[in-house]
């Protein structure tokens, strides 16, 4: 390890150090303001240290890590999302929680775990990052101890995540037994099936078991069962964190593993992933139709959106990885906005989760309702929002590789999806009734969270109107991949 390696690893180191500093600060004296200040400074420092190493060529550090521009882009996404979660969480925790400080510590740890996922080039470091992320999440989901739903969700996640981790470990063991290697690049060709080499049965089983573990974290069908309950039970900032950082980290890893220029994923893995994508798109959107709880709707919609990612991933080709990356950025921005505004509206006892809570919101809180409309339209993929260009990009990736079945499923399922987004929008714009948010409508909006929300809404529109600079950056970044 030389100086350049340290510089490259600086973002990871900064975040870990910040976590330790927050812990020490809490031990000395509990202070909510100090905790969030340290955490935000840490995230900002980590973001800045990304630029220090920006010019470096891809750098392999030991057998475990690879730091290239791709991982730096994703780290920037994760850190940005974490910062936004902090800003939303501050006011929420102040209102609802007696001891809010550890929240920041746990989120920092989870972020560090997610960052390890996207720099790993080896299954061992991948597992390390995954567990760091998961263990922090167990306690985060159950963070509001006074609420039984939160604890229930935490335990559910604990049991399911632990079993999926063990399945994944077993898969890793099979892979290692068969091939004697843990290195990611060894298995890219095995998954894409281009070399024509036939995989041995244990290797194939091992890879499928690993996919199971990954699928659990991404919440794709048939590993999605935990999603609605955990989304509903977890405190809103944590839900936002799961929906963005945790999924983005895992997705970046998947993309690094599978991305091969020129062709998409074929063979048995290709078939399996195609089926998973189709099932996720349809199941997510169909089940969301039955929900009346906005958090659950967004949970099912996230399942469907993961299906759209998989379309880009399976399609591959020169457009596949950029499309998936852009979709992820668009989705993360949008969903952060959605959960963020729910955080703002949450009362001191109950979160505003039922659709009925949002009835007539436009006439009470025009700013929040407009932001909500923008995020929902972006989720539905209506033009001038980031979500539309994401969908456009995914369809372009699919069409250029002639993946027609996937595309038609995407078309049908996103039409179904539109229906429940419209239901929320209808509620927002309906006549004012006395139901809805009685408690919070008297309270002034918290300033930092409102500013962040406005910025996110503006970003959604900006990405939807002028994506060219970001697209160029993404193309450049995904070029050194694979």
């Amino acid at each position: 390890m030389n100086v350049a390696d340290f510089v490259a690893l600086l973002p990871l180191i900064t975040i870990s150090v910040t976590a330790v500093v927050v812990m020490i600060a809490i031990a000395i004296r509990r202070n909510h303001k100090v905790a969030i200040a340290i955490s935000l400074i840490g995230v900002a420092a980590s973001l800045m240290s990304l630029s220090l190493a920006a010019s470096n060529a891809p750098l392999q550090i030991t057998d475990f890590f690879i730091l290239d521009s791709y991982s730096r882009l994703y780290m920037a996404i994760l850190l940005g999302a974490t910062g936004v979660v902090f800003l939303f969480a501050y006011d929420y925790l102040k209102r609802r929680q007696e001891r809010p400080e550890e929240f920041y510590l746990l989120v920092l740890l989870a972020t560090a775990g997610a960052m390890v996922l996207l720099v790993s080039r080896n299954f061992a470091s991948f597992f390390l990052g995954l567990e760091l992320l998961s263990v922090a999440l167990y306690s985060l989901i159950a963070y509001v101890r006074t609420q039984s739903t939160s604890i229930e969700a935490g335990i559910k996640y604990l049991v399911l995540a632990a079993s999926s981790s063990s399945v994944l470990l077993f898969g890793l063991a099979l892979i290692y037994a068969d091939s004697g290697s843990m290195e990611l690049s060894q298995f890219a060709t095995a998954m894409t099936g281009i070399s024509g080499s036939t995989n041995t049965i244990p290797l194939l089983i091992g890879l499928m078991l690993v996919l199971t573990g990954i699928g659990f974290k991404l919440a794709v069908v048939p590993f999605q069962l935990w999603t609605p309950d955990v989304y509903e039970g977890a405190p809103l900032p944590v839900t936002a964190f799961i929906a963005t950082v945790s999924k983005a980290g895992m997705f970046a890893f998947l993309l690094r593993w599978f991305h091969v220029h020129g062709v998409g994923i074929a063979g048995t893995p290709g078939l399996v992933l195609t089926l998973i994508a189709i099932a996720s798109m349809l199941t997510g959107n169909l089940l969301a139709l039955l929900q009346t709880n906005v958090k659950r709707i967004l949970a099912y919609s996230s399942i469907a959106h993961m299906g759209y990612f998989l379309v880009a991933l399976v399609a591959g080709g020169p457009l596949g990885a950029p499309a998936a990356t852009y979709y992820l950025i668009a989705y993360a921005t949008t969903v952060l906005g959605a959960f963020g505004l729910m955080t703002i509206l949450a009362g001191s006892r109950d979160e505003a989760t039922s659709i009925d809570d949002y009835r007539g919101l436009l006439w009470k809180r025009p700013l929040v309702a407009s932001a909500f409309t923008i995020t929902l339209l972006s989720l539905a993929g209506i033009p001038l929002t980031a979500g539309f260009l994401g969908k456009f990009y995914v369809v372009a990736a699919g069409a250029s590789q002639s993946r027609w079945i996937l595309l038609f499923t995407l078309v049908i399922s996103s039409t179904i999806g539109l229906f429940y987004y419209l239901r929320i929008i209808v509620a927002l714009y309906s006549q004012q009734t006395d139901s809805g948010l009685v408690e919070s409508s008297a309270r002034p909006l918290p300033l930092p969270a409102t500013l962040v929300l406005t910025a996110l809404a503006a970003l959604i529109l900006l990405l939807g109107v002028y994506p060219a600079p970001l697209w160029d950056a993404i193309i450049a970044v995904t070029r050194d991949l694979g």
Binding site: W363, L377, I382, P383, L384, F388, F392, V395, A396, A399, S400, L407, F408, V411, I412, S414, T415, L418, F419, L422, V426, Y429, P467, A468, W471, D472, I475
Partner: protein, 500 residues
């Protein structure tokens, strides 16, 4: 730059009237009128400037603007105006002003947001009629949906949410299929030429296998057929038209349906000449089915707005028939029909709105004998009913006549069947006029007659219908060159339409 400013004026005046409405509602309405009026004047200016002088043959577009937008996919913000767009833009702004004026007293809640949506729909429609890049076209195509959805969903009648959602889902599903088709077309173009582009003129001559051409054409066709609406895809229309507020119905019937027909003329025929020829008999049959089906159902309606909605299905059947007849006369007839149907049906919806404001019902059986108490309004109603049933001397007749004339050369039997639709049109037209305005005044209505504002809405509409009905030549002159280009691209054969 003129073209961009057309859209920008609408967008900004929409925002302005939303903001102003908080303080003063009437000035918000005036801002909206001023915005659309400014666009109307600009378009008339462009029209006068371009019809007077002899046009250079090399120039396809009257006005054009072209900016680089997303270079990675070769997407350019390319707007272009030719005769067809110009005629439809004139219609757009005319009906836009009508829509604003007709909701002057009807809309009393959330006036600012209403006008915001109204103007943004108009901006979307403007974009659709101007786009010369398929990505931009799709963008505006989708963009006009959202404000329209709000117009129906917030200010509509009893079943507004059902109607608005149905409208949105139908158009969105078909629109996404078109998006897939658009992207596939660009991908095919890239494979053959190496250039990724969505530019209309560059994509015109894409070489592709007949099978993929047919599939792509169907992708486009579905989107336009839903909007048009052609026969099996029409079920959203009666609901949406009936539940929408007056301004919404005017814009839906007058303009949104026309975007479907415009798409067929502008994109389907020139981009896919082979499949268009091949599938023309099928499309014409669908058109004729629409004519008869719409007319027969219209006869059976008791709700005034529903009746008018079904007549739209029937009239748009003529448009579909004319577009796929494959000769220039029919095509010109189809476009004339689009314009005059926009005016006559728009006027009928305004009329339905006026009646509803006065007697609070749309049931024809509740009316009757209105002539006695409102002679002027009833007279206007009679004119529009006559226009809608195709009385010579009014606009619709010219369109239908030209369509039938053109179709007769291609397919005699279909023409005969389509003419039966005119018969049914007489039935519903007379039934409406008879039931609403004539007969004894059983319900003893005592109602105020037309006011000045209502005269200013309906008067010009009557004049326009008479103008198109008696002297359609200026409109035809405007259209001829661009339709000839379309026809040339679709059917490279000697033109037969110039003899008239």
């Amino acid at each position: 730059m003129i073209l961009v400013s057309l859209i920008l004026i609408l967008l900004t005046s929409g925002i302005a009237s939303w903001i102003v409405a908080r303080r003063h509602e009437t000035s918000a309405r005036w801002i909206a009128v001023a915005g659309v009026g400014a666009d109307f004047l600009i378009t008339i200016g462009v029209w006068i400037a371009n019809t007077g002088r002899a046009q250079p043959v090399t120039r396809r577009w009257f006005e054009e603007c072209n900016f680089n937008w997303i270079s990675q996919f070769g997407i350019r913000f390319h707007l272009a105006l030719d005769g067809l767009s110009l005629a439809l833009l004139l219609l757009t702004y005319f009906l836009g002003i009508v829509a604003i004026l007709s909701s002057w007293t009807e809309i009393r809640q959330r006036v600012g947001f209403f006008h915001f949506n109204l103007l943004w729909v108009l901006a979307g429609i403007t974009g659709v009629f101007l786009a010369a890049d398929l990505f931009v076209f799709y963008l505006f195509w989708e963009l006009m949906l959202v404000p329209m959805y709000f117009l129906i969903g917030i200010w509509g009648h009893e079943r507004r949410i059902y109607a608005a959602t149905k409208f949105f889902l139908f158009t969105q599903l078909s629109g996404l299929l078109m998006l897939v088709a658009i992207i596939s077309l660009a991908v095919i173009h890239q494979r053959t030429t190496g250039i990724f582009t969505f530019d209309y003129e560059q994509l015109l001559n894409t070489t592709m296998s007949p099978r993929s051409a047919r599939l792509l054409m169907l992708g486009f066709f579905v989107a336009f057929a839903v909007k048009l609406p052609a026969f099996p895809f029409h079920t959203w229309l009666p609901d949406a038209h009936t539940e929408a507020p007056t301004a919404g119905s005017v814009i839906l019937a007058g303009l949104l349906l026309k975007t479907g027909a415009y798409g067929l003329v502008r994109f389907v025929l020139p981009l896919f000449p082979g499949p268009s020829r091949e599938l023309a008999p099928l499309m014409m049959t669908v058109g004729v089915i629409g004519i008869l089906y719409g007319a027969v159902l219209a006869v059976a309606q008791t709700d005034l707005k529903r009746l008018v909605a079904y007549t739209s299905v029937s009239h748009m059947g003529f448009v579909l028939l004319g577009i796929f007849a494959g000769n220039e006369i029919a095509l010109e007839g189809a476009v004339i029909q689009m314009i005059s149907h926009g005016i006559s049906t728009g006027a009928l919806f305004v009329l339905a709105g006026l009646l509803q404001e006065r007697i609070h019902t749309r049931e024809i059986s509740e009316m009757g004998g209105l002539w006695e108490t409102m002679p002027a309004l009833s007279g206007a109603g009679l004119v529009f009913a006559m226009a809608s049933l195709g009385l010579p001397g009014l606009g619709d007749f010219v369109g239908e006549f030209l369509v039938l004339l053109g179709t007769y050369r291609v397919n005699v039997s279909l023409t005969v069947v389509a003419t039966l639709g005119l018969l049914a049109a007489t039935l519903y037209g007379l039934r409406f006029a008879q039931g609403a305005f004539h007969g004894p005044n059983l319900h003893h209505w005592r109602l105020p007659d037309m006011r000045l504002r209502e005269w200013t809405i309906l008067g010009p509409m009557i004049l326009c219908l008479l103008w198109i009905g008696l002297y359609p030549q200026p409109v035809l002159n405007t259209l001829r060159r661009s339709l000839a280009t379309v026809q040339q691209a679709a059917l490279p054969q000697p033109l037969s339409g110039d003899k008239r």
